[in-house]
């Protein structure tokens, strides 16, 4: 589904990813772990197409198309969805209305009443409260509510490749359980894959990764299966530095 080859990326004049190779196939769940500033979120942002990042070398293929020069909206409509660490607050438009606008831009076939019905079910599932639809987008929302809103949108947009950028940060234990169990169900559907960026192994107890990568200083320094996580819990990242 996604194949990254020798990816080098700059922000302004600094190289932050230095030769990443990664392949994610349908049905796989890849966890990327590493210390602060290692380049984990940068990798997520580059795949999603954040214009602040410049690819200086290498190639990204998604569903056999080269991603490098595609704009973020095109990548999104192809099925890539990244959850934001700190989603913006946009006052002046309600949560529901912005979701409608997003679905319209994606030429979603659902009519207005179907969207409202789906939206209401998701609000209930994530315990966001009956006023959530009318509230301005993320405006005045807690960190936990914003993260739940990200997962709500994931459900609404039904992407193929899910990129979770520290979806567990700032959440209480119960919220992590709700979100991770929902993501697990989502990923069990046919044709899905995920890249999970995380510091903490807790979320990986529910969403069990098929592959684990350790990234340090912009490079993948170790790849393997979930047994790597045990080593991280016991020894941290020091031995990879």
């Amino acid at each position: 589904m996604l194949k990254i080859t020798n990816l080098h990326v700059n922000v302004e004049d600094s190289e932050i990813l230095s030769g990443i190779d990664l392949e994610i196939k349908e049905g796989e769940i890849h966890a990327v772990m590493g210390p602060n500033g290692a380049g984990k979120s940068s990798l997520a942002n580059v795949i999603a197409g954040n214009p602040d990042y410049t690819i200086t070398n290498g190639k990204m293929n998604f569903k056999r198309k080269i991603l490098n020069s595609l704009t973020p909206d095109v990548r999104s409509r192809m099925g890539i969805f990244m959850t934001f660490q700190d989603p913006p607050e946009i006052d002046g438009i309600s949560n529901l209305q912005l979701s409608r606008d997003i679905l319209k831009a994606r030429e979603d076939k659902r009519n207005s009443s179907d969207i409202i019905s789906d939206y209401k079910k998701l609000i209930q599932k994530f315990d966001l409260g009956s006023e959530w639809m009318k509230r301005d987008f993320n405006y005045g929302a807690s960190g936990g509510e914003k993260k739940k809103n990200e997962v709500l949108q994931m459900n609404l947009l039904d992407p193929t490749l899910l990129i979770l950028d520290e979806i567990d940060s700032g959440l209480d234990v119960d919220a992590v359980k709700t979100i991770s169990s929902d993501i697990k169900t989502f990923l069990s559907k046919k044709g899905k894959a995920a890249l999970i960026i995380t510091h903490q192994p807790t979320i990986l107890e529910t969403i069990k990764p098929t592959h684990v990568h350790i990234i340090v200083d912009g490079k993948i320094v170790k790849s393997g299966d979930k047994r790597i996580i045990k080593g991280i819990i016991e020894n941290g990242y020091r031995k990879f530095s």
């Binding site: 999603a48 704009t71 973020p72 909206d73 999104s76 913006p88 002046g92």
Partner: protein, 274 residues
């Protein structure tokens, strides 16, 4: 500063450059002077659609008087053309216990300038809110001067602006709260958005308070469309052009949604989005 010199600014005033005095006289041709008067104890809604087509330098003058205990919701909608240079001067009086809500919606024009000179007497309320937009190498300007002439006056100025394509917007919001006008409340708020590299925005709030027992706030910002929100919307499948348009409309809606009449809301949305 006395009321006369506040409302009829002279060359000694630092904001003389934007004073209406320069438009009345040799340079600009004064074409009419109308008076809009709301009778005592009455309640009215009025929409003025001003769409100048003449290419002369024109100045128009309108007097608005809210008699005691009256209420008026006035909407002014004005679109300028590529060559139109026009100045609109509104002399506004709020008599005791009156309420005046003025919505001012200004789009394009080489010069499309609206100046409100308002006197508000005890227990009256004046709210001036609106939008100024210029996307055509001209200047859309809203200048409001509100003079609190009595106690317990409430005044608000809430203006959002947006500019692009070498267009410019100007907002100047002045409030003077005179001595012995306890219990006044005033707020001046402006958010100006520059939508591309060529737009310009000027935002100048000024509060002059000569009384102790008042509540006064101002909040003026000038900036580009929020890059983080743009990136977020793109990551959800909205193109860059549509994301910019959507955020610009949201910026407008923050003001338009204040209008209590949905038919007028719709008209103003259409006005800006055609």
């Amino acid at each position: 500063m006395a009321i006369e010199s506040f409302l009829k600014v002279d060359k000694a005033d630092p904001d003389w450059a934007y004073s209406p005095s320069q438009y009345f006289g040799k340079q600009f041709k004064m074409i009419d002077a109308n008076c809009l008067q709301i009778k005592e104890g009455t309640d009215d809604i009025m929409v003025l659609r001003l769409s100048p087509t003449e290419n002369d330098l024109l100045a128009k003058h309108l007097q608005i008087v809210g008699r005691e205990a009256s209420k008026l919701d006035l909407y002014i909608i004005c679109e300028g053309g590529e060559q139109t240079q026009q100045v609109f001067l509104y002399n506004v009086t709020c008599e005791p216990n009156s309420i005046l809500n003025i919505g001012i919606f200004v789009k394009n024009g080489k010069l499309n300038k609206h100046i409100f000179e308002c006197e508000a007497y005890e227990n009256s309320e004046i709210n001036i809110y609106g939008l100024a937009e210029n996307d055509m190498n001209g200047s859309s300007e809203i200048i409001a001067k509100v003079y609190h002439a009595g106690p317990n006056v409430i005044s608000q100025q809430l203006i959002n602006c947006s500019s692009s394509n070498k267009g410019r917007t100007v907002f100047q919001g002045y409030v003077k709260i005179d001595k012995d006008t306890n219990g006044s409340l005033t707020q001046v708020s402006n958010a100006s958005v520059i939508k591309d590299e060529t737009g310009q925005a000027f935002s100048i709030p000024q509060l002059m308070i000569e009384c102790g027992d008042v509540e006064a706030r101002h909040n003026c910002t000038v900036g580009q469309i929020d890059a983080e929100s743009l990136w977020y919307l793109q990551s959800r499948g909205i193109s860059l052009a549509d994301a910019k348009k959507l955020l610009a409309e949201i910026h407008q809606d923050r003001i338009i949604n204040l209008i209590p009449h949905t038919d007028i809301q719709d008209e103003i949305k259409d006005f800006f989005r055609d």
